[in-house]
Amino acid sequence: MPATTEYQGSFLGRISIRRNQVMNMDGNHDQELEDIELFQRHIADRFADLLSSSQQQQPPSSEEASTPAAAVDPFLSINWLRKLLDVFLCCEAEFKAMLIMGRDPSQISKPPLDRLIPEMLDRAVKALDICNAVTNGIETVRHCQNLAEIVVTALEQKPFCDGQVKRAKKALSSLMMAMTGEDKEGGSYTRTWSFGRRGSAAAASNKDRGHLHLRSHTWSVSKNWSAAKQIQAMTANLQAPRGNEASGLASPVFIMSTVIVFLMWTMVAAIPCQERNGLATHFPVPKQLVWAQSMIALHEKIGEEWKKKEKKGSVGLLDEMQTLEKSAHSLIEFADNFQFPAEEERVEEVAAQVAEVADTCRKMAEGLVPLQLQIREVFHRIVRSRTEILDVLESTGKVSAPIV
């Protein structure tokens, strides 16, 4: 992630050097205001970039065929999410520099920060669990990728014949199952052994038959954990600072909390995740805040998509999964009605679809593992920042209530 390191280096360096100078001179309020303003501007810029990159691409599927796809990463695609994660890492580094480095620690244990910071740390912990659930969700996506690859292997063989079409059909039905069964099972993998009549006969004499029908549930987090509820809890006490507070450190704390909520919410919406039913689409950020404009626009855009897709057993809004789902539907239709030899016209159509699936699989193969690693990086970053902030609080000796 060259972008990340570049940003980090420059911001951290600049802020810390300058702050050290200022701290020596006493009276750093103006500097603080300037820092906050700069931070807001960076937030606005970065999210504006994300927004513009998601608007450039109008019709999501046809565009890929006409223009070289290399230029733009489709909205909510793996690469787009990676950009978002990069943005988060940059904001986070900048935020921490502002909050901790060179600052008098007693400042963050005074009102209103004495309340806002523990709330933020609480959000951080919830975010960690979401990171884990999403990492696990990516395994589901990878599973779908593996199944889609079987479809490609089968249908890339020409001419289409009954055997390969059946093979594809089998993989497609597993794929659909993996895509839809997710939220209900609440677990990671939902393979179901498609035993025919024989299966049940064999199973009857099999002491393990429970495994054939009753899938063992695996929760990625804990049993009753729900991504939707976590997002809800993270949003619940998120309030824009008002009055005097708006000009102080309460403002970047609010901004950072908003960014983290936005990131987690987007990931939950995009990637299959434990229990997403009732995922809120409300974003409690006042529309007049300049830095939040692009973020709000993105939120609305994703929210609309979510509302559209939520009802029909969502696979998540991840662009690649949406593509797979669409292709899978039409390929299933093709496979159901297949008769040898296939019509010439149909063959071309299917070939195009298979090529698209193959292309999607390639993108997944390239992007999913780096995405997982990046989420892990975000995880570690959140852990580290939390520890650092707790250390500062500890040193002021003012943490009376245990902080989770």
Partner: protein, 642 residues
């Protein structure tokens, strides 16, 4: 096979060559002990020859008919099983090898026909089409058989979970330092040993009898390019099997772990330690071997499958560790953290060897990272003890001057700690140590005989006890009576010395420390004596020695004797309530107090006061002195009076 084209002009000689080749193949095929590969090659050749023959004879005549016949036979086999209710692998080895033979036959036919791309013969096309369909049917069937065998012959390894039973009651250090008695520490604190699952413990997760069956299915499916389906099914079933094991371990969110009560957390940590060992040393090591046995020949596929099976369970173990390492610094956690650290550093070798491939390097690195975090956290927790001691303040003195719970806590804590000496020294050496403390310097002047006394842990332990002494000294200032203050200090330092002397702590503290602290509590005992008796004894001064205390108004022996009795009664009332729990120390101090008796006896002897003025006889006093330091108030009974 590029040579086919040139063969088309028929020569009789070639016909002979083909016929001869057929014969050779038949002869070779009749040989037993042929490897599967060899058999396949022969079958392959056979088909080729048939097709060549066919072409040579009459343009799509006899040869293809022969191939078609063979396909038909194989097709019948596959179809007959397709409608059957029983599983092939349950029906005996003959059925199995016939079925596998049929599949190989189809593959061969398919490959050979596919190779003949130039032949736009309708018959060939149709054969190819049929071969594809039958092959798909067979592959689908083999996948079912695979799953069936894996499930049917799955074996569980059920290790005893010993910790649950032996260690239910856990040492709970609470913040007020009061819940701890010596016995509870010694009896309940059991270190989670990392030796009980040492070395490799490979078990058969699937009955060894069916390994060749699984392998043959793998071979056939891979040969037919159905490797993806094989892996899909294999990973799925094995992952489920592993999940059953993991499910015994409840999963927690990080939030849950951070909010967990210490008691619950401590038992979950023990489960984690146990699961780590069992899952990594037994389950995953065995799983890896299973993968190797079945898929070893297929290179990277083997490690891919293993990682897919293992990843979720490894990540879940990892996350619990991460969550624990995020918790607050509390001294009571140290033991468990050290256990976690030890088990993980122990298991890293295993993790490294299980996950040495590129595909899994990220999980491996995460475990190394966790170890680093745990070491950092354990070290910080270790230092936390001293800060906890320093910041422990009381407002009221401990009644009766006994052993303060803090003293018990600290001494038992460090006593339990030294079994981890190796690990702690390692953790401490990572850190730049500051040993230039007066306590240690003093000791460094002496010749430090053993190396244990000078190790990093020993250094820290002395810093801890000197922080404790300092704290006790502050606490002692809360007493209004000097004598009780000395009893308190004596009791506590004596306790410390005893703990050190009677355990392995003595190696860490060294003789010098013990000698010095023996001196300290004896000093306090002497101070106690002086504080208690000097004023009382002043009443008994005889033979004209100047009365030092000007408060003394009584001048006649009779009056002084009376004053003495009153003063003694006062001491008695107080000091019978005070407490010295150590019987030896109690005894020693009572004996020391006997000097009052000597003074009294000689006073009575010299002054010859008549008995009626004497409230207590020497014997009375001696008996009364025995009531001292029992820790309960005693009334002066009348029986002592004459």
């Amino acid at each position: 096979m590029a040579g086919y084209q040139s063969m088309i002009p028929i020569h009789e000689r070639e016909q002979h060559v083909i016929a001869a080749a057929h014969h050779i193949l038949k002869a070779l095929g009749a040989t037993k002990n042929l490897s599967d590969d060899m058999r396949k090659i022969l079958a392959d050749l056979d088909v080729h020859l048939s097709i060549m023959n066919g072409h040579n004879e009459s343009n799509g005549g006899g040869g293809i008919v022969e191939v078609e016949k063979r396909l038909k036979r194989a097709e019948i086999k596959v179809l007959s099983w397709d409608s059957s209710q029983t599983m092939i692998w349950d029906s005996g080895s003959r059925e199995v090898s016939e079925y596998l033979g049929a599949v190989v036959e189809i593959q061969t036919v398919k490959q050979s026909l596919g190779g003949l791309s130039l032949i736009e013969n309708g018959k060939v096309k149709e054969c190819l089409y049929r071969a594809n369909s039958v092959l798909q049917m067979a592959m689908s069937r083999l996948e079912e058989e695979l799953v069936h065998i894996l499930l049917q012959h799955k074996q569980y390894f059920e290790p005893e979970y010993t910790f649950f039973h032996s260690c239910q009651e856990d040492l709970v250090y609470d913040e007020s330092f009061v819940s701890l008695e010596d016995e509870s520490v010694e009896e309940t604190y059991q270190r989670v040993s990392s030796d009980d699952v040492s070395g490799e413990h490979i078990v058969d997760l699937v009955h060894p009898r069916v390994i060749p069956d699984l392998k043959s299915i793998a071979n056939v499916m891979f040969a037919s390019n159905y490797d993806q389906e094989f892996c899909e099914a294999f990973i799925g079933v094995r992952k489920d099997a592993l999940n059953v094991v993991i499910l015994a371990m409840e999963k927690f969110s990080i939030e849950d772990v951070l909010k967990m009560k210490w008691f619950t957390l401590s038992s979950e940590i023990k489960k984690w330690i146990w699961s780590m060992k069992i899952i990594i040393r037994v389950y995953l090591a065995s799983e890896k071997q299973l993968c190797n046995k079945i898929l070893g020949e297929f290179g990277s596929v083997c490690s891919f499958c293993f990682v897919e099976i293992a990843k979720a369970s490894l990540l879940s173990l990892l996350n619990f560790g991460e969550a624990v390492a995020m918790g607050s610094l509390r001294p009571e956690k140290l033991f468990h953290l050290l256990d976690m650290y030890e088990v993980l550093s122990d298991l890293l070798v295993d993790i490294d060897s299980l996950l040495f491939e590129e595909v899994s390097s990220y999980v491996r690195i995460e475990f190394h990272e966790l170890l680093r975090k745990l070491s950092h956290y354990a070290r910080a927790t270790f230092f936390e003890l001293r800060s906890a001691i320093v910041s422990d303040t009381s407002v009221k003195p401990l009644p009766r001057g006994g052993i303060h719970p803090l003293t018990r806590y600290v001494m038992n804590y460090i006593k339990a700690l030294i079994i981890y000496d190796h690990t702690i020294n390692m953790l401490l050496e990572d850190q730049d140590m500051d040993c230039s403390n007066p306590v240690t310097e003093l000791e460094n002047e002496q010749q430090v005989s053993s190396s244990i006394t000078s190790c990093a842990l020993a250094c820290q332990l002395r810093l801890i006890t000197s922080a404790l002494e300092c704290n006790l000294d502050n606490k002692s200032k809360l007493y209004k009576e000097d004598a009780l203050r000395y009893i308190f200090l004596m009791n506590n330092i004596h306790y410390m010395v005893q703990k050190v002397k009677n355990s392995d702590l003595r190696h860490f503290f060294g003789d010098e420390w013990i000698r010095k602290h023996n001196g300290k509590f004896q000093q306090h005992a002497t101070s106690y004596q002086r504080a208690t008796w000097s004023s009382v004894l002043s009443f008994l001064r005889v033979d004209g020695s100047p009365v030092s205390c000007s408060i003394l108004k009584a001048t006649t022996p009779k009056e002084r004797c009376k004053e003495f009795s009153i003063a003694f009664e006062e001491v008695y009332k107080n000091q019978t309530q005070w407490s010295i729990t150590d019987p030896q120390l109690q005894e020693d101090l009572r004996i020391a107090n006997l000097k009052v008796i000597h003074a009294y006896r000689s006073f009575l002897g010299i002054t010859r006061i008549s008995d009626k003025h004497i409230k207590y006889s020497v014997d009375d006093l001696e008996k009364l002195l025995l009531d001292f330091f029992e820790g309960s108030r005693r009334p002066l009974r009348n029986s002592h009076r004459r």
